[in-house]
Amino acid sequence: MVLLLIIPIVMIVRYSFYDNVIIHKNPQFVGFENYAKIFDNKTFSVAVKNTLIFVGGSVIVHLLIGMTFAMLLNTKYLSTKTKALFRVIFSLPWMFTASVIAILWKMLLDPHGVINYLLEVFHLSSSQVEWLASRDFALLSVTIINIWAGYPFYMVSILAGLQGISSDLYESSAIDGASAVQHFFRITIPQLKPILISLLMLDFVWTLQQFALIWMTTGGGPINSTEMLSTFIYKLGFSKYQYSQASASAVILLAVCSIVAIFYVRHQRGQE
């Protein structure tokens, strides 16, 4: 089992230093030439920029929505049954596989689709926006789709964390006359901190490698406007057959994820 993970890692690092891998029997060692080509590639820098916007936007909004919904499902203003019902409804997006999410949102965001209709009814927009097919909106659209698909994981994790906070903490600070806002920043956030850090790191890595959703909604287009590192690597490898350069960019992505993973492991160990 371990070998099936380690062998590909060794192979991909090796490929990235050779030219003509896989296609030719005797690839030549070229050192860092593949990396130099990648850094010169304009699409690569566009992909890095798009990936950063996509990951940053997704992670921040995931946290905000996840936090809001978790607090909502933990308030004393609702009965247990109501909370259970809404916990199910809010968790729903989590159940769907990427291709279902992709096709569903393609339908919703169609120029003649229901979202444009609602925008028109509420006078928010009068033109039929081409959400996924215009260069201005495509990146925003895929980010929104990813936000929809990913926030429930935050919500249930934060909810578990909230339920683990002892009510004594809130009671004693209520006696000191602390307001709800002070409660939130002085008790809730510090108590949740370990969970929030784990979530942010895991989500960063997961969103960085998001491929399926992008591939099936925009395929990286129109004209590279939603090109991500993942789609860039896939296209280099599987439609342009530039395996060496694809390997080099894969190694770069792998390195970034490994750095985050090292921090994640340290963080998890620190908790024990």
């Binding site: 089992m1 490929y15 203003y77 997006p93 994790s157």
Partner: protein, 288 residues
């Protein structure tokens, strides 16, 4: 004195009222955001294709149809996607449960130094982007003559699920006292018997959580299912749906029906075993 207290109570009451209104508004917005797309998928699967993009949209079509579903059940190629998905997911679940409980048993009952390795492996599996390893992994699968077989997908998904499953089951078995299985062995039973008759029955909640996690991973996986198969004979539902998107781009009602059918198993598992499901999915981020 009285008046002051009453005034204060009123203020608190008013404030609670505002918060309640805010809570209700947020609940409605949340429901619209999370639930509406799914409701729309469901409704559109019962519409004739010409009504999908009707302006203004129709909620429930006057020509309510189950044609889209009938088309899928009549088409052996589409049925095959479902058969493949069920077969692969169930095989992976059974293998993961069997292997993880045996491994977890030895980790929790014998002194073992490999725990750190397993922990590191889990983090690696979670953190290594599958897309980066796809190229060498594919050539490995081709070398092992597994390309375009069930074996390729089953092996890959085991690689995804086993480390996590073993860790979860070890944690679970660690909470059960050793006296339990030692009692069986005192009576002359074997270790395996102890595991099977005593530990497995009490571990059912843990096994259910692991099983859910595994099922969901294998049922929903897309990238490897796409790259490791070549013919529809071995393709799973997620890949099937994405292929339909390319081939019959205009049969939206059928694609919605296929999506509903493809999402049903995971949805039902979630509804009936919510607590186990959440425990299985979140223990990576939440330490209990």
């Amino acid at each position: 004195m009285y008046a002051i207290r009453e005034g204060r109570n009123n203020m608190v009451g008013e404030k609670n009222g505002y918060i309640k209104v805010l809570v209700i508004i947020l609940l409605m917005m949340g429901t619209l955001f999370s639930g509406f797309p799914i409701l729309w998928m469901f409704l559109n699967s019962f519409k004739p294709n010409s009504e999908i993009f009707a302006w203004p949209p129709t909620w429930i079509s006057k020509n309510f149809l189950v044609d889209a579903y009938a088309e899928i059940f009549k088409n052996p190629e589409k049925i095959r996607f479902f058969v493949n998905s069920y077969f692969i997911a169930f095989t992976v679940v059974i293998l993961t449960l069997a292997i993880s409980i045996l491994a977890a048993y030895s980790f929790s009952r014998f002194k073992f130094r490999g725990k750190k390795v397993i922990n590191t492996l889990i983090v690696s599996v979670q953190a290594v982007p599958p897309i980066t390893l796809l190229i060498p992994y594919l050539s490995l699968i081709v070398t092992m003559k597994l390309y375009n077989t069930y074996g390729a997908l089953i092996l890959t998904y085991l690689l995804f699920t086993l480390p996590y499953a073993i860790l979860m089951m070890t944690g679970y078995l660690n909470t059960l006292p050793k006296d339990l299985d030692e009692a069986v062995m005192m009576d002359g039973g074997s270790r395996f018997r102890a595991l099977w008759t005593v530990l497995v029955p009490v571990s059912v909640p843990g096994l259910v959580s692991v099983g859910m996690y595994t099922f969901m991973q294998s049922w929903n996986e897309y990238l490897f299912a796409l790259a490791l198969t070549k013919t529809n004979e071995y393709r799973t539902v997620p890949v099937g749906i994405s292929l339909l998107m390319g081939q019959h781009a205009y049969e939206w009602n059928q694609m919605m029906a296929m999506s509903v059918l493809g999402s049903l198993p995971v949805l039902l598992l979630f509804l009936f075993f919510q607590r186990y499901f959440i425990a299985g999915m979140t223990s990576g981020a939440v330490k209990h």
